[in-house]
């Protein structure tokens, strides 16, 4: 009897053969976040993941896509049915975005990467195709392998294919900016803004939803400051700080130069890198054991360590 999640897709099988069973190996996407986790060991063979949208069922709001596909290609196909995913569009691949696990700068509107990966297939350190999760939007069958793989920087397995939850693109998206408002008061006043960005002076707000809902939110905005409609901003670049939402009002006092903060979320984009605390010893121990369980010989993405600072 064949397990439901068993795959004999020749494309994936070929990728598994490429990964093989020994020798250091790393998967490259578009190298947009190539330095995360530390420098790659020179010994690693560099491969690319297979590409292509395997199956898209808009009425199920799921898409099966191979890891080497670019997020832009995926989203342009989904857009034909008025949908998108939580993956950020930063020039990278689906596999890269899942391996990195960072969210789009419009996270409230787009959703979180970690909750949108329903199923993952990866090639293990033993060269086997392993599947975790499942193709349905709701699933508690067994351990949550997709959560483990998302954000694992390719250190536990070579991501080959994922099933992602898709979301409807809102009817209306509009951006407004103001120099004389309190972004935190705006955050408290709006029910569900798409994004609130703040650089210490200017507050830029994305409103999403039905036209009438957006109109109602505009009224709320204008009661908090002199907002004017603006073009959608570029995705903020630079170093990425991860703070708690309540830490954001004090960011200007950190002296980190120009910044863009995602209000209500806690991400801050700045020129200088965040100095992060090392992992708690108890957490680090589980990390080390996890890596050792999944990749005892240390052949996957050698040099890269998740959570190392």
């Amino acid at each position: 009897m064949t397990a439901v999640l068993h795959t004999s897709d020749p494309v994936l099988t070929a990728f598994a053969d490429d990964v093989g069973t020994d020798g250091p190996v790393a998967i490259e996407g578009a190298r947009t976040r190539w330095s995360l986790g530390g420098p790659l060991d020179d010994s690693a063979r560099i491969l690319t993941a297979p590409t292509g949208v395997v199956e898209y069922t808009p009425e199920e709001m799921i898409v099966t896509v191979r890891a080497g596909t670019t997020v832009a290609d995926l989203h342009s196909e989904l857009a034909t049915k008025g949908q998108w995913t939580a993956l950020p569009e930063r020039g990278g691949t689906v596999g890269g975005a899942v391996a990195v696990g960072q969210n789009d700068f419009r996270r409230p509107a787009r959703g979180e990467v970690r909750t949108s990966v329903l199923q993952v297939r990866y090639v293990s350190a033993e060269g086997r195709i392993v599947s975790g999760g499942g193709p349905t939007v709701k699933n508690v069958s067994g351990f949550d392998i997709p959560r483990l793989i998302t954000g694992s920087l390719g250190t536990l397995g070579c991501i080959a294919e994922v099933i992602l939850r898709t979301n409807p693109i809102p009817a209306i998206e509009r951006w407004f900016a103001s120099d004389d408002t309190d972004p935190f008061a705006v955050h408290a006043a709006l029910l569900a803004p798409g994004a609130i960005l703040w650089d210490g002076t200017t507050t830029t707000v994305q409103l999403v939803g039905h036209g009438v809902d957006v109109d109602a939110d505009v009224t709320v905005l204008t009661s908090h400051g002199s907002f004017v409609e603006v073009e959608p901003p570029e995705a903020p670049s630079g170093e990425r700080w991860s703070l708690a939402p309540a830490d954001l009002p004090a960011v200007p006092e950190l002296g980190i130069g120009p910044f863009v903060a995602e209000v209500g979320v806690g991400i801050v984009h700045a020129a200088t890198p965040q100095v992060r605390e090392p992992l708690d010893p108890g957490v680090r121990l589980i990390h080390e054991r996890m890596k050792n369980e999944f990749d005892p010989a240390g052949r996957l993405n050698p040099g890269r360590v998740v959570g190392a600072h």
Partner: protein, 495 residues
């Protein structure tokens, strides 16, 4: 017990009298004698949860009140080579909380404090024994709620929600428990206190917090949880659509999702259960309809009717015979009361029921439902269907009288066929009840040996000693310690 002994046992202070069992003595010193129970009747009581499975007598039952006490219990259990099973309200339906091999039970019901509401960070810190509905009620005056709302929400604990990654009708729009946990303090099977996740936007490291949620107590026990606060929506519309067939209702659900609408909830009840519910609570459900769809949208006031009216139209396109909007809060509450007391209504028909839980692609709902009715006929059992249609989460209820000879065999056979039918339709084993001991034997129908091997590696990274709720989730042969290796305890040890 003599009167003197009884009086002595109630006196405060002083070390407890030795029992002759070192494990018990150490636990009693670590907690207090009155918070470690070994009475035979109590241990048989905790042998069960809300499922049909019986784990036999548990070992000592501990009622800790702090993280440090939980850690002490874990260390003592490990030193004595004993497994540990966490327990909240014992409402699980897959046997996840039953004790296998006489483990030490950690009941978290005394760890029931809401520790802090942190509005700035959008979280509440709670202890695991806090009851789901108590938390939501506590948050209501502040304008928030805890989004997961399982049917057992009036009794189930947040710790249990974390262990099972609980859902509920309103998880369609808001997501299940895993989307609502920011950080977790856990105690590992080795007695280490570890904080997973954090309040910052993207905590460092592997998403161990996400992995822990839904792990059914096999990765350790949670002692403190930061749950995210969900803002109450200012407007809500509740619609009741009637259909001649469950197929039409199911097609409406697929149509709504395909139209890009994500309602707060979409629940379907077939005619049998609708009649039972109406009989039971008089909520105003049509008893002549072949199926009803209870749909709810919520959000800002301005655009609330747009989605509600589109759902109505899609229903009419799919042959809805009647569409009713709840006119006020009372009508809405009555409809939801009907939905949430469905299982009670069933008890009026026969004393026992077996509630199944599988997920299928939404577009396959109608086909799988037809198959389920056929399966029930084939095994001569009565089935009723009430389910979270919006996310394809089926809950067939097999209704029976357990005293009828041979009926359980037919119930289990029908259940197996339902699981097979769901998997064949591209579905999964469980949407919200978990695997527990109920569906272990079906795990290899969904996953390959390699898949299960990797799940076991994940588990070992947290619990290499294999003492956290062993014998659950992973099938025999794929678990780090098969249950028969655990030292089971003779019944007479604690009388």
């Amino acid at each position: 017990m003599s009167l003197i002994e009884r009086l002595r046992s109630t006196l405060p202070g002083g070390p407890p009298a030795p029992s002759g069992d070192p494990l018990l003595d150490e636990l009693r010193v670590a907690l207090s004698p009155d918070r470690v129970k070994v009475d035979g009747a109590q241990r048989s009581l905790l042998g069960k949860d809300a499922s049909v499975f019986d784990g036999g007598n548990s070992g000592p039952i501990c009622y800790p009140t702090s993280t440090d006490e939980v850690a002490a219990i874990m260390r003592i259990a490990e030193a004595h080579g004993r497994a540990v099973v966490p327990r909240g309200a014992g409402t699980g339906l897959a046997g996840g909380a039953i004790p296998l091999g006489g483990p030490v039970v950690i009941a978290v019901t005394k760890m029931n404090k809401i520790l802090e509401i942190d509005e700035e960070n959008g979280v509440a810190w709670v202890e695991p024994g806090v009851i789901n509905l108590d938390l939501t009620r506590h948050l209501q005056p502040l304008g928030y709620h805890f989004a997961p709302d399982p049917s057992s929400q009036q009794v189930c604990t947040i710790g249990g929600n974390v262990a099972n990654n609980s859902g509920g009708p309103h998880c369609l729009a808001y997501g299940v428990t895993n989307a609502h946990v920011a950080a977790l303090e856990i105690v590992t099977a080795e007695g280490e206190i570890v904080m997973l996740g954090g309040l910052d936007a993207e905590p460092d490291g592997y998403d161990l917090r996400g992995v822990f949620v839904g792990s059914e107590g096999t990765l350790g026990i949670t002692t403190k949880i930061a749950v995210t606060l969900t803002r109450n929506r200012p407007a809500v519309r509740t619609l009741l659509l009637s259909f001649e067939s469950t197929r039409d209702a199911a097609n409406t659900v697929s149509g709504v999702v395909a139209a890009g609408i994500v309602p707060a909830a979409m629940e379907v009840m077939d005619q049998r259960i609708t009649q039972a519910v109406e009989n039971y609570v008089n909520a105003g459900y049509p008893t002549d309809a072949g199926a009803v769809l209870l749909a709810e949208v919520d959000g800002p006031e301005a655009g609330i009717d747009i989605d509600a009216e589109r759902i109505r139209d899609i229903g009419l396109e799919n042959n809805a015979t009647d569409v009713r909007f709840a006119q006020d809060d009372a009508e809405r509450a009555a409809l939801w009361k009907g939905r949430k007391t469905a299982f009670g209504a069933v008890a009026q028909i026969a004393p026992d029921y077996y509630l199944h839980d599988t997920v299928v692609p939404r577009s396959k709902l109608a086909d799988v439902l037809d198959e389920i009715y056929a399966i029930a006929d084939r095994h001569d059992v009565l089935v009723m269907n009430v389910f979270h249609a919006g996310d394809g989460n089926l809950h067939p209820l097999l209704i029976f009288d357990g005293r009828e000879p041979g009926v359980l065999d037919r119930i289990h056979a029908a259940g197996g066929d339902i699981i097979t039918a769901s998997l064949d339709a591209g579905g999964v084993l469980s949407g919200e009840h978990g695997i527990g001991v109920e569906k272990q034997k079906y795990m290899d129908r969904l996953f390959t040996d390699d898949d299960l091997d990797h799940q076991n590696r994940l588990r070992r990274a947290f619990d290499p000693v294999c003492r956290a709720n062993p014998g659950k989730v992973l099938p025999m042969g794929h678990s780090c310690a098969d249950i028969q290796h655990l030292r089971s305890v003779p019944a007479e040890v604690w009388g």
